[in-house]
C-alpha cells in the first residue's frame, strides 16, 4: 500500500510569490491535514479537509488556503510569500471517521528568499 505522498520535495520561492504544495493521501483515506513545521516552533496545525470540505483551520492568515479534490488529494496554496513562511509543510491522512492514526507524508521543504 502506497503511503502519503507530497510534491514537490523542495520548493524555493522569492518573497511575494505564490507556492502550491500537493498531497496525495493513502487510498481510502478521506481526511487530509496540513501542518507547518518551522524551525523552533514545532508542528502547527494549518488546515483540515474531509470529503472535499474545509473542516477546521488553524491560526494562520487567509493567504494560506487550500482545497481537496474529489479523489481526496489536496493542495495547499500560500500567497504573497513571506520569509517566515520558510518551513517544512507536512500533510497527513486519516480514514475518518473510524481511524485515529494519522499517516504523515515526507513533507515539502519551502524556502522563501
Amino acid at each position: 500500500e502506497a503511503g502519503v505522498t507530497q510534491s514537490p520535495t523542495h520548493l524555493i520561492k522569492t518573497r511575494g510569490q505564490q507556492a502550491t504544495l500537493r498531497c496525495s493521501p493513502i487510498s481510502g483515506h478521506t481526511s487530509v491535514y496540513w501542518y507547518q513545521q518551522a524551525l523552533g516552533l514545532g508542528l502547527q496545525f494549518l488546515l483540515w479537509y474531509d470529503e472535499g470540505e474545509e473542516r477546521n483551520r488553524g491560526n494562520f492568515p487567509p493567504r494560506f488556503s487550500g482545497r481537496q479534490f474529489p479523489n481526496y488529494s489536496s493542495e495547499l496554496n500560500v500567497n504573497a510569500l513571506e520569509l517566515e513562511d520558510s518551513a517544512l509543510y507536512l500533510c497527513a491522512s486519516i480514514q475518518e471517521p473510524s481511524g485515529y492514526e494519522q499517516y504523515f507524508g515526507p513533507g515539502t521543504r519551502l524556502t522563501v528568499t
Partner: protein
Amino acid sequence: SQELEQSPQSLIVQEGKNLTINCTSSKTLYGLYWYKQKYGEGLIFLMMLQKGGEEKSHEKITAKLDEKKQQSSLHITASQPSHAGIYLCGADYKLSFGAGTTVTVRA
C-alpha cells in the same frame, strides 16, 4: 500558545542508558499520540494512549497516560542509535502537537 508542553527540549544519552520524555496538556486529554521524526522528514506513529493509566509498549519504548495530571511520559529502555530523532506528542484532537524532544544517542 502551545497546548502541549514537552520536556526536555533535547537530551543526549549514552547508548544503553534509559531516557524519559514528558508531555503535559493544558486541556483535558481523552487520548494522546506519540510520534517519532527523523530530521526534516515526516512523522512516524509510535502509539496512542486512550485511557487514564494506560501503558503501551513497542519494542523498547513504553508510554503511559496519566489522565488526572493531563500528562504522558515516553520511556526508552537501553537506548540505541536507532532511537535518535525527534519525539513529538500529539493530542487526540489532532490539532495540537508538542514542540518535540530531540534525542541524541552517543555511542
